[in-house]
């Protein structure tokens, strides 16, 4: 009934139509303007972010090598070669082992350091600075320091271990221990950063929660940690895991300075292999294919981060 009356009334229908038409042209103009304004940013994004990425992907399907004037399309040849490349498997597994040790190691120690420093009444700033030093120092320079510390003849670590009855040798030059030593250096380096993140997270936990728990009957440090601290730190922990994982995947400096991937490829990691293929052997296309594999790992981590951090671990 109402419809009939409305559409039957010419005075009502007419202004309604023009209003709609006017609105749509205005909307069109607005949208056009919006795109115009976004164009410079989009252009730069394409040139600087997406362009190089696509170039790398494209390069991985060719036989280009650094310095060559021409290149040929080779399809999946590089990826096929990768499947038969023992060093590639070695570098993948080494990288995963490195990530698998450095992430939990620096997480647990970083959290421990944060809890201990937070519980201090005096000297908080001092200890925070001490633990944060490795983060601020350039890793290349610090790697050289580690090289001296690990030196078999006068390094403090082998010499100390020798006092305890271990053979005095450079553990970085042993196939079995080189990667674990690099992991320790990795943990040493990222611990301070994680600690600072955890300290920020700890200061965000309201004190009244601990008081409420105390009155609810939970008085041990263990109960306080498991009932409040750990769950309340979940967002920070998730962030720390992802950030540390991404940084550990990119491990390069220490390998380059200390071991060059050796001995016997024991410390060959993905980025170092990419570097070697690209800049030592000039096989740019193969390095590009390795880079694509590396980017896939980073992409997966980023997706996990986006999904979980933004959806799951927030409480309110």
């Amino acid at each position: 009934m109402a419809d009939v009356t409305l559409s039957g009334d010419p005075y009502q229908a007419a202004p309604k139509n023009t209003a709609r038409r006017r609105l749509s042209t205005r909307e069109f103009k607005m949208q056009g303007l919006a795109w115009m304004l976004a164009l410079p940013a989009l252009f730069l994004m394409g040139m600087l972010l997406l362009g190089p990425l696509l170039a790398v992907v494209a390069l991985s399907f060719t036989d280009y090598s650094l310095g060559n004037g021409s290149l040929d399309w080779r399809g999946l040849d590089n990826y096929r070669a990768m499947l038969g490349d023992d060093i590639f498997y070695k570098s993948i597994s080494n990288t995963l082992v490195y990530v698998g040790i450095v992430v939990p190691g620096s997480l647990v120690l970083g959290l421990g350091a944060a809890l201990l420093i937070e519980s201090l009444t005096r000297g908080k700033a001092f200890w925070r600075a001490v633990y944060f030093l490795p983060v601020m120092a350039t890793l290349i320079a610090m790697a050289i320091v580690w090289e001296f510390m690990m030196s078999a003849r006068f390094g403090i670590i082998p010499q100390t271990l020798a006092l305890l009855g271990f053979p005095a040798k450079n553990w970085l030059q042993e196939t079995a221990t080189a990667l674990p030593v690099l992991c320790i250096i990795g943990i040493w380096q990222s611990l301070g950063f994680n600690m600072v993140l955890f300290m920020a997270g700890l200061s965000g936990i309201p004190r009244t929660l601990y008081e409420a728990l105390e009155l609810d009957g939970g008085s041990s440090a263990w109960t306080r940690f498991w009932t409040i601290t750990w769950p309340m730190l979940a967002p920070v922990t998730m962030f720390v895991v992802i950030i540390t994982a991404i940084r550990s995947f990119q491990v390069f400096d220490t390998v380059h300075v200390l071991t060059k991937g050796g001995p016997n490829n024991a410390t060959m990691v993905l980025i170092y292999q990419i570097y070697q293929e690209g800049f030592d052997f000039f096989r740019s296309s193969y390095a590009a294919a390795l880079t694509v594999v590396f980017l896939v790992f980073i992409f997966i981590l980023t997706v996990i981060k986006a999904r979980t951090i933004e959806n799951k671990v927030h409480y309110s």
């Binding site: 009155l215 939970g218 409480y315």
Partner: protein, 388 residues
């Protein structure tokens, strides 16, 4: 439920003394409000009772047991915090269950997956779940049990906090300004609910508030605190009608009590308001009369003191009229007029003010109460003494 005894408690934070020798006994099942302006030490006193804060001197006893050496968790008290302090990562059911879990399960049984398979856990968990459901039903929050605190409104959070307190059987409930984060309408509603809850549970309640309406409407007794001291305890009526101190008189009652400077004539003992007889005799040291707005009568033509209507607040059921006295231009008197006295709303109208002599209070220079009574009764007494 138990009696809570606060004995000579003192507390300092650095150089500031927050509590000085405060003593108070809260009987078993009694609802006592600690009330006072902010910074008077009422929250500190509550936290000392709970054990979250340690006193510098004095004792706290619960059910005749000194608890000064006990941790808060061992004192068996339930507390509702001003911020509610709900565990944000746990849903409503788990929040309410927390005190029971802490009481009934050991730390191994509380472990996430493993705990479930330990002997006794399942039975205890069932029992806890049943008690949580009962508590939720009592507070009308059964439909919220699965939600996280972040998804609740202020009033609902408040109920969950109360639920977490009442799910077990504590020696006493401690409430630290629990209604101050709610909007005005909800506050009135929750006031009634908490009072009803107290009647139903018959439990000992210690309630901290700065809102005298909350204290007046809910408590069996009120303890008024100022500057770290408990200056008066009594039923709401006693504190309202018989304040021991000018500060109490001013703090309790809304609108505020009228304070009128007077001079006592030495010969007859009559209090004079700028030379006018107020109708009462008072102690010679009296410097000031206190009259509640409802004990002030105003009329257009009849009364000993005159003034001018300066402002009128119409609340519908009643009206508060502010009158500036002609004789004392610095004194503004608030009078409660009944509904529909139209003339008072004319700002600038002349008003004649009279006081209900039975309800006038007198205070000396230091603010202490001194004696005061209507002249008629004073004369009758004198006569009786002369005859007797």
């Amino acid at each position: 439920m138990a009696e809570v005894k606060i004995k000579n408690v003192s507390k300092r934070f650095g150089d500031t003394s927050v509590l000085e020798n405060a003593s108070l006994t809260i009987a078993k099942g009694e609802f006592v409000s600690l009330i006072g302006p902010s910074g008077c030490g009422k929250s500190t006193l509550l936290r000392i009772v709970s054990g979250l804060e340690l006193q510098d001197a004095g004792q706290i006893a619960i059910a005749d047991q000194t608890v000064d050496d006990l941790r808060p968790s061992a004192r068996n008290l339930a507390m509702v915090f001003q911020s509610y302090a709900l565990y944000p990562h746990l849903n409503v059911a788990s929040n309410i269950a927390m005190p029971l879990r802490m009481q009934r399960l050991n730390s191994l049984q509380r472990l996430p997956v493993v705990g479930r398979f330990l002997p006794g856990t399942a039975a205890a968990n069932d029992d806890i779940a049943r008690q949580v459901r009962d508590a939720a039903e009592m507070l009308d929050i059964s439909h919220l049990l699965e939600r996280k605190p972040g998804q609740l409104s202020g009033g609902q959070r408040q109920r969950v906090a109360v639920g977490r307190a009442l799910v077990r059987n504590p020696a006493a409930f401690l409430l630290d300004e629990p209604l101050s984060n709610l909007d005005a309408k909800l506050r009135v509603h929750m006031r009634t609910e908490i009072a009803q809850l107290h009647r139903r549970l018959q439990a000992t309640f210690i309630y901290v508030t700065h809102d005298q309406v909350e204290a007046m409407t809910m408590s069996d007794r009120i303890a008024v605190m100022m500057d770290g001291n408990i200056i008066q305890t009594g039923t709401p009526d006693e504190v309202y009608d018989n304040p021991a101190d000018i500060r109490v008189a001013e703090f309790i009652g809304s609108p505020k009590i009228n304070l009128i400077p007077v001079h006592v004539e030495p010969a007859r003992g009559v209090a004079l308001l700028a030379g006018t007889d107020c109708g009462v005799t008072a102690d010679a040291t009296a410097e000031c009369l206190g009259v509640r707005p409802e004990a002030v009568a105003i009329s257009p033509d009849n009364g000993p003191v005159t003034g001018t209507v300066e402002h009128a607040e119409n609340l519908g059921s009643e009206e508060y009229v502010q009158v500036r006295l002609d004789a004392l231009p610095d004194t503004l008197i608030t009078a409660r007029a009944g509904h529909g006295t139209g003339w008072t709303r004319r700002v600038g109208a002349t008003a004649h003010v009279s006081f209900d002599g039975d309800r006038i209070l007198a205070f000396d220079k230091a603010g202490k109460r001194v004696t005061c009574q209507p002249i008629a009764r004073h004369l009758a007494q004198k006569k009786a003494v002369a005859n007797g």
